[in-house]
């Protein structure tokens, strides 16, 4: 039997101890349905005349599609409709376009070329699943195989094949400027020069399939009033609804999505592919249509947690103090950008892990290669780098001959310490975690390490200050492909310096549309009890000195929480991601290949349904209340 131990002695004054549910067994509200088998998953909705839709998939990693011959398939018994890219009204999307992030780069159905093994090139809708499978086997696709690239670092080389023309450098473009996400804090190169040890290592995490027991699937059917109902196991119902509205060029008010019951997801059911596909099938046939992946598809084309490669370089003093940490990270985003570019921004905010290190630099690349697109999974954006960091801590402990737990306590961040993303750490608890873990594991640590506390010693002097920071301009978009930049690690030759104390510039990925949705920093964390009595007034706007006036919508309290490296000069004020993505890719030395003449679906003008407010996504609707 599992048992939970509550260490109420720790941080006792930070919590009011009136927990009513936590720590007590409870009966799930949905469990009666589960044990009686009556819980209705998407496939437990029976429809008369249900049709079955199956995809024709690419056997190549990378190939041009010369011709698709569906004639024989269309004549097969039971076949109701052959569906190809031509039938998709707006066949180009990026998952995060709903929050104005990234450029549309992914078709629902490939038409000019396939970019990963298993990509959809057509669908068959038939009376039975077997008939759909039989007809799929009769679709003849004439492919011209192209050279492919499967390794993230190979893909960065100047002669690597261009995988996705929307990102012609095989990398996501960060902030309209760099081919990677930068983080600069202090001066790592100077610190490495005076460190007693410099310890470097590389860590690789393979892609991981979420493997829910129920595969991704949806059933769509026409309803009265021209609406379409869609039963789905998506983990992101409104996301899937918005994506479907966009791809099918239909107002979201015509879509009636029913979900909330998934047979496991773990991040693998957010990509909103089965929903638009099933609804498209229902629209084209006027019949209920089921589109679900089989287990093979779930494993092969279901987006996994992407692979990641990390190189970590630490500058360490003899006593174990880490004075510098440098990261070079590569995310395997697959052939399209789904959530990886965003995961990198989140992950970068997490660096250098829960440690107080005065000099940090990081370059993280979101790489396009001919691989299955990656998506979310538990601990999204953090898991691999945390794994790498903790492996590296053990390596450092070995190099300096120290107890690894004591090394962690020595370097742990404490309340008030300045983090590399220029926000002060609060509610830290690594030291206490280490102490408890050491006790449980019977691992003895020194009295001094036992005496440390997250509440003491943090934020003192330099620990709480933003250091003078060395900056560089390396890795501008397109430089690497042109052969002008080789190295992927943070620059050895900084070209600029940002004065100490400079918090940098606020960069918001998308402007807040509604003041109600603004995050109030003061409400985050577990110091609520103390505040509840005091009911503090919201903090007055206090932009740090020397900071450019934050852009219109940036919430005052959020200004110092930039996860973006300071700009090379304080004058550079142009905020990125304030505008919806430009319809054409930003400047890049290699122009994207012009669309093939036969390409019928590239929307000529931006899609215009749903909310039409400048600067906001057109696919969001409704208001949000607290």
């Amino acid at each position: 039997m599992s048992s939970t131990e509550f260490r109420k002695d720790l941080f006792a004054d930070e919590r009011d101890d009136t927990l009513k549910e936590i720590g007590k067994p409870t009966i799930r509200q949905d469990i009666l349905g589960h044990v009686t088998g009556r819980t209705k998953y998407f496939d437990d909705h029976l429809f008369d005349g249900l049709l079955h839709m199956r995809a024709v998939r690419s056997p190549h990693h990378h190939a041009r599609i010369r011709r698709i011959d569906t004639e024989a398939a269309a004549r097969m018994p039971g076949v109701r409709r052959v569906v190809t890219a031509k039938d998709v009204p707006v066949n180009l999307n990026t998952l995060l376009s709903l929050i104005n992030f990234g450029r549309d780069d992914e078709p629902l159905c490939a038409h000019d070329k396939v970019r990963f093994l298993g990509e959809t090139v057509a669908w068959i809708i038939a009376d039975t699943e077997r008939e759909a499978r039989d007809a799929v086997a009769q679709v003849r696709v004439d492919y011209e195989p192209l050279p492919h690239v499967l390794d993230v670092e190979e893909a960065l080389k100047p002669d690597a094949p261009v995988v996705n023309e929307v990102y012609p450098n095989n990398t996501f473009d960060y902030h309209g400027k760099y081919d990677h996400q930068k983080l600069r804090f202090g001066d790592v190169n100077a610190a490495f020069a005076r460190a007693d040890h410099v310890i470097e290592a590389e860590y690789q995490m393979s892609p991981i399939e979420q493997a829910p027991i129920e595969t991704c699937g949806a059933i769509a059917a026409p309803e009265q009033n021209g609406r379409f109902v869609c039963h789905t196991n998506t983990q992101a119902l409104f996301f899937s609804l918005g994506t479907t509205a966009k791809l099918l060029d239909t107002p979201s008010s015509r879509l009636h999505f029913i979900g909330g019951t998934a047979g496991g997801g773990f991040g693998g059911k957010v990509d909103s592919i089965v929903e638009p596909t099933a609804v498209l099938g229902a629209m084209l046939t006027g019949r209920p249509v089921k589109f679900a992946w089989d287990r093979y598809e779930e494993m092969q084309v279901g987006a996994p947690r992407g692979g990641e490669r990390w190189r970590i370089k630490d500058g360490v003093m003899r006593d174990g103090t880490i004075i510098a940490r440098e990261f070079t990270g590569f995310f395997d985003s697959g052939a399209y950008m789904r959530l990886s570019p965003y995961a990198i921004i989140k992950g970068t905010g997490h660096l250098p892990g829960p440690y107080s290190i005065p000099n940090v630099a990081s370059n993280v690349y979101c790489v396009v290669a001919n691989r299955t697109p990656a998506t979310a999974m538990r601990g999204f954006g953090i898991t691999a780098v945390d794994f790498s960091i903790e492996c590296h801590m053990d390596r450092v402990a070995e190099a300096v001959g120290m107890n690894p737990i004591e090394l962690r306590i020595l370097n742990a961040y404490r309340d008030g310490d300045m983090k590399a993303h220029r926000r002060k750490a609060k509610n830290t608890a690594l030291i206490e975690c280490c102490q408890v873990a050491a006790g449980k594991a019977g691992w003895s640590i020194s009295a001094d390490a036992m005496a440390q506390s997250s509440l003491r010693g943090g934020g003192l002097g330099e620990r709480g200050a933003i250091p003078e920071t060395a900056t560089d301009e390396e890795g501008r978009i397109g430089e690497r492909r042109a052969g002008r930049t080789r190295d992927t690690a943070p620059s050895r030759q900084p070209t600029g310096r940002v004065p100490a104390g400079h918090a940098g510039q606020a960069v918001t990925a998308a402007p807040v549309q509604n003041p109600d949705m603004e995050i109030e920093i003061e409400r985050i964390g577990h110091r609520i009890a103390a505040q509840q009595g005091a009911a503090p007034a919201p903090r007055a706007p206090q932009p740090p000195a020397g900071q450019p006036t934050p852009p219109r919508a940036a919430p005052p309290a959020a200004a110092p929480q930039s996860s973006y490296a300071p700009p090379p000069s304080p004058q550079a004020t142009a905020p990125t991601y304030q505008q919806p993505p430009a319809p054409t890719p930003p400047p890049a030395p290699t122009p994207p290949t012009p669309p093939a003449a036969s390409e019928p679906y590239k929307p000529e003008q931006p899609f215009s349904r749903g909310v039409n407010r400048p600067g906001t996504s057109r696919f969001l609707s409704g208001t949000r209340r607290r």
Binding site: M1, H34, V35, G37, I213, G263
Partner: protein, 160 residues
């Protein structure tokens, strides 16, 4: 399309359906007989969420050719509760947090029932063996094993 008539006993009820030749039993139970309790997780035998009892013995319904169950007795989770009363296994799973998403649960319950029918007082290892063909992605198995042992104890009038 030609269809074959098929009769069997499903949870005590005489059932007759017409099946498309080559259909698997899971499909026939769900779409033909309307018993939606067995689930399809893989259609290849690896997950166990489609487990049903045929003449009291656990089978994977996704790998059972429908025609082979003519005249036989099939039990599913749909017939586990006795009227309004939950089966002790259901009760134990409910109380012991032994299901999260619930997709594996119906199959688990059938595998567990087959075990307890034959071995009323199983050891922990026997429980683990009995559900070794049933995957659960959510719970980490421990609560499920505990729940089966709890149910066994209650059915034998012991306290777990």
């Amino acid at each position: 399309m030609a269809r074959t008539p098929l009769t069997f006993t499903l949870n005590d009820a005489e059932t007759g359906v017409f099946v498309v030749p080559g259909s698997n039993l899971l499909d026939v139970l769900r779409r033909g007989a309307g018993d939606l309790t067995p689930k399809q997780g893989c259609a290849q035998g690896t997950c166990g969420s489609c487990t049903v009892l045929i003449d009291g013995v656990p089978h994977l319904s996704c790998l059972t050719l429908a025609e082979t169950v003519e005249g036989r007795r099939i039990d599913t989770t749909g017939g586990l509760a006795g009227g309004p009363d939950l089966h002790p296994l259901q009760q134990a799973v409910m109380e012991g947090f032994a299901a999260q998403c619930g997709f594996c649960t119906a199959g688990m319950l059938m595998a567990a029932k087959a075990l307890l029918d034959r071995t009323p007082n199983p050891t922990r290892d026997e429980v683990i063996e009995a559900i070794s063909g049933n995957l659960c992605r959510c719970t980490g198995y421990e609560p499920i094993v505990d729940a089966i042992l709890t149910a066994s104890a209650r059915m034998q009038g012991r306290t777990a």
